[in-house]
Symmetry: C2
Subunit: 493 residues, 2 copies
């Protein structure tokens, strides 16, 4: 299990390779035997579990309940909603048979040609179709609305180019699917969940995000409006981190879901859907980590504090342990997760490097001399600063320090984003600036054609039309036509 820290590529040398190295070396995930599918290892999964727990709590606090819908979707369902089929029915895993049999030639097993399905089934790329087909039976009257349901699930999209967490064929996510009696209510829900995602990103992941609306080109297939939170990675590229869709009545019409309104007249139901995925792991890693490894926000770190004793013999260890145990108890009582690593088969220097690689926010090292002095050496992972503190009151100090680290990495990411966000006036200026990375605020005429031209010429896409900030109208940098407000362009993951 030896981790060779020196093998971690430096960000300045190759940011992309640094990311891949880090995912592997920090034991977060690895490629599996199945093309484009990853194994999420225990340490990576522990971070995802902490994300799930907080998100799930936030969903429940906003009135949602969990449920579970089938993995497989009849092929015909995908073509019911015209735009949805274009967006989702193409690169996906298709189940055609339901049985294997022994190879008559003795070479293991083969697909039984007699077990062909009448209708092929698709592994869900997203569940709007199967869920709206179900909602038809759940909804009769306005009294059955709203339905506020979320599902934690695996989904599959047969991506050509995959990268662990950022883009994998199978990924884990949650998908909320809500049904409402009015357009206004559905729109409020879509915005509410956008805000939940933004709060989660900022307060737990310590990742600042821009809330905005997607342009038509980047909209979810089947949505009337797609809201997004966009984060900026250290290399200046954007990462779409969560989306919330106002679906209008599109899926209700496709699956014939109507309700009797208060006037006892039938109406189509209004819908939203919203999701975040294991892609958030990629955002977390790429926002904070450094050339020494992961930097985790204390609010999501599986292990917040590690204590490493420095000792020459078992008497010294016993003496150190005696002083450390009450501190561990105190930290645990404060709800802080802590590990005392007194393993004999790894040297302290090796342990230090390993916990740095794993992003443990606070490390204490304590030796015989410290015991004499009543002190402990502390290192905070975000700044790598070391300092010596009295043992007395150390738990309280750590508690405050964890909050400080959480805030510090958020502020650092926010400053970076602000420094790397520029406003441009002309398309020439845009072309020059976009090459330097970051978010570029520019005027755009609102047409898909102009957006497509810019994408072709610069590889930049409109990340969003921001909901907050400067709303001054102007003229499109490309066509000179009127622009309602500046939008954010960036290259993206």
């Amino acid at each position: 299990m030896a981790k060779e820290l020196k093998d971690l590529t430096k960000r300045a040398d190759d940011y992309s390779q640094w990311y891949n190295d880090l995912v592997i070396k920090a034991d977060l995930a690895e490629q599996s035997a199945v093309r484009g599918c990853m194994v999420i290892k225990p340490y990576g999964y522990a971070i995802w579990e902490k994300m799930q727990r907080e998100l799930d709590r936030m969903f429940k606090e906003t009135g949602h309940q969990n449920a579970y819908f089938p993995l497989l979707i009849p092929k015909s369902f995908l073509s019911r909603e015209a735009e949805h089929v274009e967006g989702f029915a193409k690169e996906c895993a298709v189940v055609t048979h339901h049985r294997l049999k022994n190879d008559p030639n003795g070479n293991g097993v083969i697909v039984d040609p007699d077990a062909r399905l009448e209708e092929e089934l698709i592994i869900r790329p997203t569940s709007e179709t199967i869920i709206w087909n179900t909602y038809r039976n759940w909804i009769n009257s306005y009294r059955d609305l709203p339905i506020l349901v979320n599902q934690w699930a695996n989904v599959m999209r047969w991506e050509m180019r995959t990268r662990m967490f950022l883009r994998t064929a199978e990924f884990l996510w949650q998908e909320g699917h809500t049904a409402h009696a009015t357009s206004e209510e559905a729109m409020e829900e879509a915005v509410r969940m956008l805000n939940v995602y933004a709060d989660f990103a900022e307060k737990y992941m310590a990742v600042p995000v821009v809330k905005g609306v997607k342009s038509a080109n980047e909209r979810f297939a089947g949505a009337i409006e797609t809201f997004t939170i966009e984060a900026m990675m250290q290399d200046g590229k954007a990462l779409q981190s969560g989306t919330s869709h106002f679906l209008g009545q599109n899926f209700a019409k496709a699956f014939d879901v109507t309700f009797m309104n208060k006037e006892n007249k039938p109406e189509y139901v209004w819908a939203t859907s919203w999701g975040v995925s294991t892609r958030l792991m990629g955002a977390l890693i790429m926002t904070h980590s450094d050339d020494n490894g992961l930097v985790l926000p204390p609010n999501l770190a599986p292990l917040q504090v590690v204590i490493v004793p420095i000792y020459k013999n078992s008497e010294q260890l016993a003496e150190i342990s005696k002083h450390v145990e009450p501190i561990i108890d105190e930290l645990k009582k404060m709800g802080i997760s802590v590990k005392y690593d007194d393993a004999e088969n790894r040297r302290p220097g090796f342990k230090f490097a390993d916990y740095e690689l794993k992003g443990v926010p606070v490390r204490l090292a304590i030796g015989a001399r410290d015991i004499e002095n009543g002190t402990v050496e502390l290192m905070r992972r975000d700044t790598l600063e070391k300092s010596v503190h009295p043992l007395e009151g150390i738990a309280q100090y750590i508690s405050e320090l964890l909050a400080d680290i959480q805030n510090n990495i958020y502020q650092k990411a926010l400053r970076r984003r602000e420094e790397m966000t520029r406003t441009v006036e002309t398309y020439d200026e845009f072309k020059e600036e976009i090459g330097k990375g970051g978010f570029i605020l520019a005027h755009w005429d609102g047409t898909p054609e102009t957006e497509e031209l810019i994408k072709q010429e610069t590889k930049a896409t409109i990340r969003c039309i921001p909901l907050e900030g400067d709303k001054t109208p102007g003229k499109c940098m490309v066509t000179g036509k009127p622009s309602a407000q500046r939008v954010i362009f960036a290259r993206n993951y």
Copy 2:
């Protein structure tokens, strides 16, 4: 959302129909558009979530970590372990293509024949193969062992006859997969997890179980030994509720997973796997529920207490609410989940029937007269007994009552099992008794042939060779050959 309680079939009339009715009417689950796959509705899923939370805690307390492995398994993996392929590689969902395209005839989408996979992929029926293929890279030395990993996942087995929760094509489960340096350690782990399952069943589900070993015929495909917990349903049929397998070195050999032992010699790794699934929902429903609906153990009930105000006008409601609010606060502080149902559009009688159907353990009804008297009417769901209590101290009373209900339904199920467990000496006696349902303890010569004969003639299988209880040897009721101890026969789900 009207529930017609009178439509619930009585157990005595048709136990099987009663079960199906109850799953639907209590809003636990429903059939989906995909053959054999169910939708788990929010109320059903809330119970499953409570099960998951407790089990997950118990797994972590015994040193396990969660991880996630791919949904799809290369076809060739299934044939690596000779017995495993026979047990699992037959009725399963096979992915053969990765793309759809527009039908040139304009009829929606069709499978793109150019997107055929080189090797077909199977939706996991269980994950031993893909996990042991992964463990090969995780394990080098004895220092890498044990690996104690669990996964919460969906799996799929193309069952011919399905019943909601009890046997569905797709189901949710957890599967633990551990790797050990010695046979003894692996065996200890398999038994440890059997005990975790038994504790969970008895303490949370209030379902008494018999712990035992499976006969060779009923063993997991690829296991050396399968341990099981067997529960008895109200109709006397057995339900296998959880299994834990000692896999020996079978999967390590099939996937070439070796480690260097302390003497620096290579050895194959020892394995266990263990799982429980949404089938537990079936066990829960069929153990406790009655002709009025669900009876839920307080430890797993999503809602433990409901309070229904009985009022004629809004003044009365306001007065009642004023007295009820402090009780709600007090219950919540005690960690008890409570709902105050003051909805105006449903009559009290309707609410009562609905909460009975849903199995809420304690119901309070409170009217203007009660407020005058300082009392409240309480109904406990397990016995349907009503009683009047002083409002003063009611929260404390409920807290104790919930524990009493939990214990009472466990004891009731235990008495039933004891009453329906009989010992027989002769095969004639066996044939007569097995028709009456329940567990039959009988001597068996230990051969698959005798077991198969009994199954053919009586539809009874050996549920397990009990680990506890009478171990007196005897003679097989069929062949007269020696028997090490009595085993449990039953008809089963």
